[in-house]
């Protein structure tokens, strides 16, 4: 289905902003999210297309409000729950 990630050709997004001397990550946790995802993919907990699918399933208003790696982390926890690795409550630390 046409999901919120499928933005090619849309109008209305703001001007393109370049960040001078942009670091690879803006916080340590972002690097941890990338590493975590790489580990799950290599272990075959989920595949890359399932990961992309999980990002695309984020509700549009949350997708647009979240930072890039926040979307990644949300997709990872969605998949960990769906794959039965942990319950949503366990993942949330409740």
């Amino acid at each position: 289905m046409s999901r919120i990630n499928d933005v090619g050709g849309m109008v209305g997004f703001p001007a393109i902003v370049e960040e001078p001397d942009e670091p690879a990550f803006h916080a340590d946790w972002e690097a941890h999210v990338v590493a975590l995802n790489g580990a799950m993919l290599r272990r075959g907990v989920y595949n890359l297309d399932e990961f992309r699918d999980a990002i695309e399933r984020i509700p549009p208003e949350e997708y647009l409000a979240a930072s890039y790696y926040e979307k990644w982390f949300r997709a990872i926890t969605t998949l960990l729950a769906e794959k039965g690795i942990a319950t949503p409550e366990e993942l949330a630390g409740a």
């Binding site: 499928d6 849309m10 109008v11 790489g38 290599r42 890359l48 890039y68």
Partner: protein
């Protein structure tokens, strides 16, 4: 934008999930740190720049690079194998009447193995939405004004290939060696949002 600070709630959530996965044996102790180090030591725009400089100085190499990107970058010790599997590399050469620019409209596919992590603007909805529709306008936002006669091709990385732009060698650089030439090449030049 949220989540930019180490003290943010998401940082604590990431730590929590990581600990949970370690506890259950889905992550080995130290594995995350090893991966972070490996990622930091991976691709860099310097790799892409070295490839371009070789193509500028060696016509035979340029031909091989355009015909089979993966084989040609292997000659210089690079590979597209940074991800789970080797990705196909397609290299497009800019010319006097032709300009190429790369995007991933559906997510953020990018030749990380050669260029390192992608810049934020490349991943932004603003860039992804507009460059396929109005590449000339987007290039203008980057300060690139192309002649009206230049044909522009936008490459949407929608499947398994990754793309690299081979910029035109700037005029007046005949006396420069390969290393100096590589120093002229920018990450944006390799994506196509700068001339070099």
């Amino acid at each position: 934008m949220s989540g930019e600070h180490a003290s943010s709630p998401v940082a604590a959530q990431v730590r929590h999930v990581e600990a949970l996965l370690e506890e259950r044996g889905w992550l080995a102790p130290g594995e995350v740190d090893e991966r972070i180090d490996a990622f930091a030591a991976g691709g860099s725009p310097a790799h892409g720049a070295a490839i371009v400089a070789r193509a500028w100085t060696d016509p035979g190499y340029r031909e091989r690079l355009l015909a089979d990107g993966n084989a040609a970058i292997a000659e210089l010790g690079y590979s597209m194998g940074g991800a789970l599997q080797e990705q196909k590399l397609t290299v497009m050469a800019n010319g006097p009447d032709e300009h190429h620019v790369v995007v991933c409209t559906l997510c953020s596919c990018y030749p990380i193995a050669l260029l390192g992590p992608s810049p934020g603007w490349y991943k932004s909805e603003a860039y992804r939405s507009r460059v396929v529709r109005d590449p000339r306008g987007v290039l203008r936002e980057f300060g690139v004004e192309l002649p009206a006669t230049t044909r522009i091709t936008v490459w949407d990385a929608s499947a398994e290939s990754r793309y690299l732009v081979l910029p035109r060698r700037p005029d007046g650089t005949d006396g420069l060696g390969e290393e100096e030439l590589a120093g002229l090449v920018t990450r944006k030049g390799l994506i196509g949002t700068a001339l070099v």
